[in-house]
Each structure stands twice: as structure tokens, then as C-alpha cells.
């Protein structure tokens, strides 16, 4: 099958890392299918890298969609400029209607610039797509998750970054039933002009496996002071099989090592119990923990977004409540 990308196409830019397709890619396929149900158009997956032939074949197999693999020696590492130039070369003749990109470090890096180069527009961190009176609505969170905005695009090319966890990749098996998609490979060469990725390095290795924790006690900026962390550790000590984690602000302040960070830029966790202490509930954190079994949130701000994601909501000052909770647990024993 010969692949053509045209103005009707809903394009998915696959995300892969160290030889594996990232789960986000399957979420993008689902997001593209949601768009397709509202506005019909062929879905096309695009995968770029140094040598992506095997991954392109795998994607055609697992998704049933047509896949275009673009291999270039300059794409051995992700580089925003190289990536954008390759995409612009490929797409500017007949820019697709929609481009679905992961709302990841890399996706967020190139999506706005790609939209500008294709004379389109970009909407980031989209968490739902649905039909509305003006066509297709894209919803995204604002103000730390306290408000949702429904956005519409009037551009002929709309680049979307899809927030992780918005379209869970559970349905890989039902995708497969549709048979194998067509695969096309292209080898290209891209000029590195002003930017070059030299290497990728593992910055911090971890000795905790958060994915195995039964209970996570998590601290946010609302704990106020580094010293108050002691109370969080004391609380966790009373809960079997628990691990203490934090949201990004706490890690940025150096109160906890990076490997304890829950959220988009840290770990994705799904313990049986997630105890959120002083966490506001910004989208970046929520997408890292919303798969938890039972969520308890303690926050002094009654409008904190975390309460929309919680099974139990407690509006209290942590300085007072955590000692009371420790007392109550100790008394019960």
C-alpha cells in the first residue's frame, strides 16, 4: 500500500525510546480514532528515528494502521530542530488536518514550532476530544486543574499534544483485530544547522520501585516546610508497605530525591491507596497517580483540584491534621 498524507489525514507521530514504542503512542492512536469518528479522515502513523523499520512494522501489526517509517542518521537522538525540519519537509506540501503528538518532554518540545511552520495552530495537554456545535472541541485543564477550557481550532492544520493517561492504551488487543496496516519506509537526510543533540544520559537511577508500592504517602508544596516531612515519614511508618513520594515542587526544592517524584516528569504509580498530603492536583501530578485504587486528599485549600480526583476529601491544615492522624492510628492499635 502506498502511503499518502493529505489535507484530510489525521497524523499520529509515534513516540519511541531506546528501541521500544512508548505506550503514549497507543493513546495517540485512540485520540486519532476519536477525531476520526467526528471528522472522517485516514489515520496515518509516522515514526521517525535513526532506523525505525522494525518499529514501523511492529506498529502496523499492533495498531492495524498505515505506518510511514522515516529513518535518518541525524535522528539517532531526538533533536527538536532536526525533528521539526524532517516533519516540515514531509508535511508542508499537503499539511494534515490533525497531528497527534504525545504531551511528553519531546512532544511538547517540537509541537508548537511544528504548528507554526505548517501555518497551523497548536493546543497542548488535551485530555478529551468531543463533538460540539463548532466542530471538534479539545478540552484542557487550566489554573492547576481548577478550571477546564474547551478549545476550538479554525486552522487547516491543528497540532495536538495529548495528555498522558487521557486515552488509556488498554485496547491494544481490539486494535489488532483489524489486521495489519500498510508499511512504507523512507530514508532521508536532515541538515543539522543550529542545534545538535550530543548524547542522552541517565541522570538518576533509583533504588525504589514505586510501581510495586501498596500504599503511597505523597507530600506536596502544601506541607510548607522541609521539617514537616518528618511527620509524613512518621505517618508512613504506621502504614504497612508504604512509600513516601512527592510532587514536583517538593523535589525541586531538594526535599526528596528525584526518584520519589510522581507525575508527568517523574513516576506513574497506581498503588491501592494514595494519600495526597498538601498536593494541589495540577494536571502534571494527576496523570502520574490517577490510576491509584483509593485516593485520600488532605489540603487546606477547599478548591484544590486534587479533590476532584479523590475518594475521600479532608480540608485541614497539615500541621494540625497529620499529628491528629498519627494519634488516631496509634490509639487504635
Amino acid at each position: 500500500m502506498i502511503t499518502t498524507i493529505n489535507k484530510e489525514t489525521i497524523l499520529v507521530v509515534a513516540e519511541h525510546f531506546q528501541g521500544d514504542v512508548r505506550p503514549a503512542t497507543y493513546e495517540l492512536v485512540q485520540a486519532a480514532e476519536t477525531i476520526q469518528q467526528i471528522r472522517p479522515g485516514p489515520i496515518q502513523i509516522l515514526i521517525l528515528g535513526q532506523d525505525v523499520e522494525a518499529l514501523a512494522n511492529l506498529l502496523a501489526e499492533t495498531t492495524g494502521k498505515d505506518v510511514l517509517g522515516i529513518s535518518a542518521p541525524q535522528l539517532s537522538h531526538y533533536n527538536g530542530q532536526v525533528f521539526t525540519e524532517a516533519l516540515v519537509d514531509l508535511l508542508s506540501g499537503a499539511p494534515p488536518a490533525y497531528v497527534c503528538v504525545a504531551h511528553s518532554s519531546r512532544g511538547s518540545d517540537f509541537a508548537p514550532g511544528l504548528a507554526a511552520r505548517l501555518k497551523g495552530t497548536c493546543i497542548t495537554a488535551v485530555n478529551a476530544i468531543f463533538a460540539c456545535e463548532e466542530g471538534i472541541c479539545f478540552s484542557r485543564d487550566l489554573f492547576g486543574g481548577k478550571v477546564t477550557a474547551e478549545m476550538v481550532s479554525s486552522a487547516s492544520t491543528t497540532v495536538l499534544t495529548i495528555a498522558p493517561g487521557s486515552y488509556p492504551p488498554s485496547s491494544g488487543s481490539h486494535l489488532k483485530r483489524r489486521g495489519r496496516g500498510g508499511v512504507q519506509h523512507k530514508k532521508i537526510s536532515v541538515k543539522e544547522k543550529k542545534s545538535k543533540t550530543l548524547s542522552i544520559k541517565l541522570f538518576q537511577t533509583s533504588d525504589v520501585d514505586l510501581s510495586d508500592a501498596l500504599v503511597i504517602v505523597s507530600a506536596g508544596r502544601g506541607i510548607g516546610d522541609a521539617q514537616n516531612l518528618e511527620r509524613i515519614y512518621a505517618l508512613a511508618a504506621l502504614i504497612p508497605q508504604s512509600v513516601v513520594c512527592g510532587s514536583r515542587p517538593v523535589i525541586d526544592l531538594g526535599w526528596m530525591p528525584y526518584d520519589r517524584q510522581v507525575g508527568v516528569t517523574g513516576a506513574t504509580v497506581s498503588p491501592a491507596l494514595y494519600l495526597a498530603c498538601g498536593i494541589s492536583g495540577a494536571a502534571q501530578h494527576i496523570s502520574g497517580m490517577k490510576g491509584s485504587g483509593f485516593i485520600v486528599a488532605i489540603n487546606s485549600d477547599p478548591t484544590a483540584a486534587i479533590f476532584n480526583q479523590s475518594d475521600i476529601c479532608i480540608v485541614e491544615d497539615l500541621d494540625v491534621f497529620i499529628p491528629a492522624l498519627i494519634d488516631a492510628i496509634t490509639t487504635r492499635r
Binding site: 525510546f17 531526538y78 527538536g80 530542530q81 518532554s105 518540545d109 508548537p112 514550532g113 507554526a116 495552530t121 497542548t124 495537554a125 460540539c132 485543564d141 487550566l142 489554573f143 492547576g144 481548577k146 478550571v147 477546564t148 477550557a149 474547551e150 478549545m151 476550538v152 481550532s153 479554525s154 544547522k193 543550529k194 550530543l198 548524547s199 542522552i200 544520559k201 541517565l202 533509583s206 501498596l214 504497612p240 515542587p249 525541586d252 531538594g254 528525584y258 491507596l273 494541589s280 502534571q284 483509593f294 485520600v296 484544590a304 483540584a305 479533590f307 476532584n308 480526583q309 475521600i312 476529601c313 479532608i314 485541614e316 494540625v320 491534621f321 492522624l325 494519634d327 488516631a328 487504635r332
Partner: protein
């Protein structure tokens, strides 16, 4: 060496956000405190650190926002920046990030910069677009989510580390002029010094009115604002602190989390 830092004024995260009568924007609750976006604070700090290491460096601050944004420009100068440009724009309603990038690109400070720093995103709108779009307007190479900056002047480049998922970092070299969006955690922003603040308060800023600048067509808009979807039941515990603590212990014990 000219460094431009783009900053934005945002409400404190604890502020209540009400959907306004138009249904298309929000009004922040009474007594809302405004401050500099934390990502931008880190960007200012990164620029001032370069200025301290490289004599002859000038740090210029730019902000698009209502009259109150003046305060954060002066705060950044208080942290050690030299000058500021304020593009005065209404805070009522959504402005396309592409428009904001365009307005900034029209200012001499943007065109003369060897290095532009932005925060990776704003804490209120969380779009993360102005930086990459400004880079596109000015045809500059761009790296986002930067957690380390190493200026290599003799090679006319900046070498950075950008944060990617799973604890990895990408090492990227960019030819100057370049634009970087700065991630939090790169540094601990300093407090403004008294002497710098005094100077900041006396300085006259380059003030421009957004509505006098050329219009650019926007290809996206907010159709409506909604309260966030409640994804879980959200049972609110009531009573005194002790009562709430006891209720929670009962709930956790019944679910066998405490044994």
C-alpha cells in the same frame, strides 16, 4: 552578551478561580495574590547567574500582561536584571500564545538578544507554547525543559541538558542566538536585594500597548470554561480535626490498609 528573559504574572495557586459571566474566562477570587510564574523565576535566576560569571552581560526582562505585571518586571530587576519591557495587555480573556510570541518578537530587546530564556510553562494556563513559538518567530534554535545551562562563548554556543521522562537527560548544543525554556529545579531563585529593588523602582520601563501593535490572526479560541470533571466521588469528611482523623482511620482500617 544580551540575555532576554520572558516572565509572566500568575495568581497564587491557592486562589479561587470562578468562571466569569461570559463563560469564556475566569475571574480570580477576592484578594488574589499575584506573583511571578515559578518557572520564570528560575529563568531570571539562570540569566543573573550568567551575568555574574560573564562581565558585560545585560539581562533584559519582558512581560505581556495587565498593568499589575509591572511588579514582577521590577522584582526581576531586583534579582539582578538590568532593564525591562512591558507590553500592556488586558488580562480578561484568552490570548493565543502565538499572538504573545508575535508581540514579544516585535520588541528590539528580542531581536538583539543572544540568548532568550522563558519558563517551560506558566502555572496558570500551562500551555508551554510562548517559548517555542517565539523561537520560531525569530528563527532561533530552541530547547525546552532545560535543567542545566553551560555557556560556551568561544564556540558561540550554549550546551544544555533537557529533562526527559524516566530520569534521563538529553545533552544538546545550540548555536547562539538561541532560546531555552527553563524547567524548575534548575536553581533556587534568589530574593531581590534591597539596593536592586530601589534601583528597579526608579527605572522607567519600555512600556508598549498591545492594542497599538499589529494584530495577528488567531487560529484557536476558548469556546467555554467549565468546572473540572469530578472523576471520583469525593466524600468530604466533616467534624473536628480529631473526628476527621478518626473517621479516616476507620475508613483505612476497613479497607485493611492499616494491618
Amino acid at each position: 552578551m544580551n540575555i532576554l528573559v520572558c516572565v509572566k504574572q500568575v495568581p497564587e495557586p491557592e486562589t479561587e478561580a470562578h468562571i466569569d459571566p461570559s463563560g469564556q474566562w475566569v475571574k480570580m477570587g477576592g484578594g488574589s495574590n499575584l506573583r511571578m510564574n515559578r518557572f520564570d523565576e528560575c529563568a531570571v535566576e539562570a540569566a543573573v547567574q550568567i551575568k555574574e560569571r560573564h562581565a558585560g552581560t545585560t539581562v533584559h526582562i519582558i512581560s505581556v500582561g495587565p498593568a499589575s505585571s509591572d511588579a514582577i518586571i521590577r522584582r526581576a530587576i531586583g534579582m539582578g536584571a538590568d532593564q525591562g519591557t512591558h507590553i500592556v495587555a488586558s488580562a480578561d480573556g484568552f490570548v493565543d500564545p502565538s499572538t504573545i510570541a508575535y508581540w514579544m518578537s516585535r520588541c528590539p530587546a528580542a531581536r538583539e538578544a543572544d540568548l532568550i530564556f522563558c519558563g517551560t510553562m506558566s502555572e496558570d494556563l500551562m500551555q508551554g507554547q510562548v517559548g517555542p513559538l517565539l523561537a520560531d518567530r525569530l528563527s532561533l534554535p530552541c530547547a525546552s525543559a532545560v535543567v542545566r545551562v553551560d555557556l560556551q562563548l568561544k564556540d558561540e554556543q550554549v550546551q544544555v541538558e533537557r529533562e526527559v521522562e524516566g530520569g534521563y537527560r538529553e545533552v544538546v548544543a545550540l548555536k547562539l542566538p538561541a532560546l531555552l525554556t527553563i524547567q524548575t529545579g534548575i536553581n533556587q531563585p534568589r530574593y531581590p536585594s534591597l539596593s536592586n529593588l530601589l534601583r528597579a523602582n526608579q527605572l522607567s520601563l519600555d512600556t508598549r500597548q498591545a492594542d497599538e501593535m499589529e494584530e495577528v490572526s488567531s487560529l484557536q479560541k476558548v469556546l467555554r470554561m467549565m468546572p473540572p470533571r469530578k472523576l471520583r466521588d469525593g466524600r468530604i469528611l466533616k467534624g473536628s480535626t480529631t473526628e476527621k482523623a478518626e473517621q479516616l482511620v476507620t475508613i483505612l482500617a476497613n479497607r485493611s490498609y492499616l494491618s
